[in-house]
């Protein structure tokens, strides 16, 4: 399980949002994407999940170039989970139904076959009592954890997280970050866009600093976050850490 | 059961359609089964001539629009004062005429008191109305050519309602209908005058309506011809349609 991006480019109309991104994530590695608002973090994650078609470049998942335009993205997406900033749970389904939908339809399993493993997932993430609740009835932190469980239930090879804590109240952020730590310990490969520098420093294997669609700096968090080389990186970190 | 055998909608039965409702004096009490009224009587006479018992006659209701639609019909023939015209004969068949009607001008006493006369010149100045589906419309526009546009209605009742409401002064009907309406329906109804059938370029002749290329047409025509020549048709007319000689002819 290895993911490699090669010169990935993406424009919306005239604006180049990704301008030649190349990076690598090894099996079990956690990569944090940091950078100012609008620098292209979300777009990059959406491109990896094939929700946005690339303009140019390649995305190698093991031996396969999943960016090949003629490929059907549907089976590939099953191998790459993504969790969004705004949860995006299906509001007309209970937490359990949210999680069961994809396995039922894609793996053609029955509810009964799924109940056991999904119950286990809910339990692991402290959601055991909320299986029958609708998203409306859950707090933001609980919703976000259900969204993570929903993505995990498809047993993806790699997980993408897009600022999954930024819509949460400060006291709920902790719960969700705990979940990520646990995943990391189980050896999940992950890419995460975040503004939580403290968390990135503690947990990430590598940090990648994006600026206007380009990678400015890349390396272990100790180096990038404590001793940035680029003035832009210093500037950005100054502002973000100042607010915290 | 000679000529018509195998040609009717239902074997051994003759299905006849009339309007919903059917009006006096063509059918009395909206009950054609009783054979009362001019058209009801004619229908039974024709049926008898074609060899059907009264019990074999089945009545259904069908409006004009349903009858001129292309395709299969749910009756063998339909009689409800349908006028025979060339245009109509392109999509449906008509029997020989069973009645030739004069056109009559129905109005109210108030209008007569106000000075309306049975002359074309006087009629032109009045406010006209007619039933839209009837051949009265071309007669009205061709013969009278009123000064102001005529108002047109769905059926006779609406025309009489408009007369009653004072929205129109006069309306054109076939004479028997006009006589009935003037006598019974319209308060203070008066027949101002008539255009006799023989004075018109296209006199209003009623025929029985059948599906185009109906196999039955020959039998029906035969029956009507027989009834005409043996005077039975005139007899029925005398029984059910009132004397119309008193109505002044429009000059």
């Amino acid at each position: 399980m290895k993911l490699r991006l090669e010169n990935v480019k993406k424009s919306f109309g005239q604006t180049k949002v990704l301008d030649g991104i190349s990076l690598e994530v090894a099996q079990g590695e956690m990569l944090c994407l940091v950078g100012a608002s609008g620098s292209g973090k979300s777009t990059l994650l959406r491109c990896i999940n094939l929700l946005e078609p690339l303009d140019d470049g390649a995305i190698w998942l093991d031996k396969e170039d999943i960016a090949e335009p003629s490929l059907d993205p549907q089976p590939i997406r099953q191998r790459i989970g993504i969790v969004f900033q705004s949860f995006n749970l299906f509001p007309h389904m209970t937490a359990e139904e949210n999680v069961m939908l994809a396995p039922r339809r894609i793996h053609r399993k029955t509810r009964d076959q799924l109940r056991q493993p999904i119950m286990a997932l809910f339990e692991r993430f402290g959601l055991k009592n909320h299986m029958d609740h609708y998203p409306d009835q859950l707090s933001g932190g609980q919703q976000q954890r259900v969204a993570i469980v929903r993505a995990l239930a498809m047993k993806p090879d790699i997980m993408l997280f897009d600022e999954i804590t930024s819509a949460l109240d400060p006291e709920l952020v902790g719960e969700v970050l705990e979940v990520l730590k646990a995943l990391k310990n189980e050896g999940m490969t992950m890419i995460m866009a975040t503004h939580e520098m403290a968390f990135a420093r503690e947990v990430a294997d590598n940090v990648c600093f994006l600026d206007r669609g380009r990678i400015l700096e890349q390396g272990p968090p100790q180096q990038i976050l404590s001793d940035p080389q680029e003035p832009r990186t210093r500037d950005f970190l100054g502002r973000v850490l100042g607010n915290q | 059961d000679q000529c018509a055998t195998g040609k009717t909608l239902e074997a051994g039965k003759l299905t006849i359609a009339t309007g919903n409702p059917a009006y006096f004096p063509w059918v009395i009490d909206d009950a054609p089964e009783q054979g009362k009224g001019f058209e009801a009587a004619v229908a039974y006479a024709v049926a008898a001539e074609m060899g059907f018992e009264s019990d074999d006659v089945v009545w259904v209701r069908a409006g004009f629009d349903e009858s001129i639609q292309p395709g299969a019909k749910n009756f063998d023939f339909n009689l409800q004062q349908f006028s025979i015209t060339d245009d109509r004969e392109k999509v449906i068949d008509f029997s020989l005429p069973y009645y030739s009607s004069a056109m009559a001008v129905l109005t109210t006493k108030a209008v007569v008191d106000a000075g309306a006369e049975p002359t074309l010149a006087s009629l032109k100045t009045l406010k006209w109305g007619a039933g839209a589906g009837y051949t009265a419309v071309p007669v009205l526009t061709d013969l009278v050519a009123p000064d102001s546009d005529a108002l047109l209605y769905n059926d006779n009742t609406d025309v009489t309602a408009a007369i009653q409401a004072g929205q129109i002064d006069v309306a054109l009907f076939d004479l028997p209908t006009a006589l009935y309406l003037a006598a019974v329906v319209v308060d203070g109804g008066v027949i101002l005058g008539q255009f006799p059938a023989d004075r018109m370029e296209n006199p209003d002749r009623f025929g029985m309506l059948m599906e185009q290329d109906s196999a039955l047409k020959a039998c029906v025509d035969e029956a009507i011809a027989a009834l005409t020549s043996n005077g039975k048709l005139a007899e029925i007319e005398a029984t059910w349609l009132s004397e119309s000689t008193g109505v002044p002819v429009i000059k």
Partner: protein, 276 residues
């Protein structure tokens, strides 16, 4: 507010006074207006005639049972049209959402269809379909005006219903589709399990309005033959030369449509409120 009746606050005392006065005024003025109508209208010169023609008790009693009976046909036509309209409307809405180029004619068809049937008065569609299609040479019973009249209503209303469904589908935020796609669901499953259930829920009040309109337009089938309440009223009108049957028909409609309209309004208000 735990004040005893003795310890009224300043406002409570004032409001109690005001309430008394306004009750009296409102009651009095309503009564005055009602009395004025009841007493003055009958003084109009033609009132007796109009009353005879439009509010004739005798005619009412004579025609009411048969009219109610005819109304059953309205209800029946309504009842069997609704599922057809819902199904066809949904199908057309989905057709307009198709992206596959092979199915382009479907999209085109959907667009033309809605334009066509929303553009032409229902009466005309009833006439054209009700008389035209049977003419293609259908044998009995397949040329029945009940069938083709229903088809005409279904065609017209499904165009409106389709547009409402389409609005609902488009109102489901793209992030919901994306979330479902990112799980690896097929486009079809995304529509069926994620988008449609949300879309349909949102457009229920708008569709209620269509139901009420349909309920009233069933009356137009009478033009091609079926003796439903409107035609039955017309027959009575012709026979009795009296318009009371129409008033009776209108009253029967009111009994059904007023509660339905109220319900639809209530749903719409509730939904608007929950949105803002």
């Amino acid at each position: 507010m735990a004040n005893g009746s003795a310890g009224l606050t300043r406002r409570q005392a004032y409001e109690r006074k005001l309430r008394h006065r306004s009750l009296i005024i409102a009651g009095g003025s309503t009564l005055a207006v009602v009395l004025a109508i009841v007493l003055l209208v009958p003084l109009a010169p033609g009132w007796e005639k109009v009353k005879y023609s439009f509010f004739n008790g005798e005619v009412f009693i004579k025609t009411f049972p048969k009219l109610l009976n005819a109304f059953v046909l309205d209800v029946a036509i309504f009842a069997w049209s609704v599922p057809l309209i819902a199904a066809l409307g949904l199908a057309i809405a989905l057709a307009r959402d198709v992206r596959n180029p092979v199915l382009y004619p479907l999209r085109l068809f959907g667009a033309l269809y809605t334009d066509l049937f929303r553009g032409v008065p229902v009466v005309l569609v009833v006439y054209l379909v009700g008389f035209g299609i049977p003419g293609l040479g259908l044998p009995r019973p397949w040329n029945s005006p009940y069938i083709w009249g229903t088809v005409a209503l279904v065609l017209t209303y499904s165009a409106y219903v389709a547009e409402i469904f389409r609005g609902g589908i488009e109102s489901v935020h793209n992030s919901q589709r994306n979330a479902a796609l990112s799980l690896g669901l097929t486009g079809q499953d995304v529509m069926r399990f994620v988008v449609l259930p949300q879309a349909i829920r949102r457009v229920i009040p708008a569709q209620m309005n269509m139901l009420i309109a349909l309920q009233k337009d069933v009356a137009l089938l009478s033009f091609i033959g079926p003796v439903e309440i409107f035609r039955q009223a017309g027959v009575f009108k012709s026979l009795l030369a009296n318009f009371t049957p129409y008033v009776v028909a209108a009253a029967i409609f009111l009994v059904v449509t007023v509660p339905a309209t109220r319900l639809a309004d209530y749903l719409i208000t509730k939904q608007n409120r929950s949105r803002s």
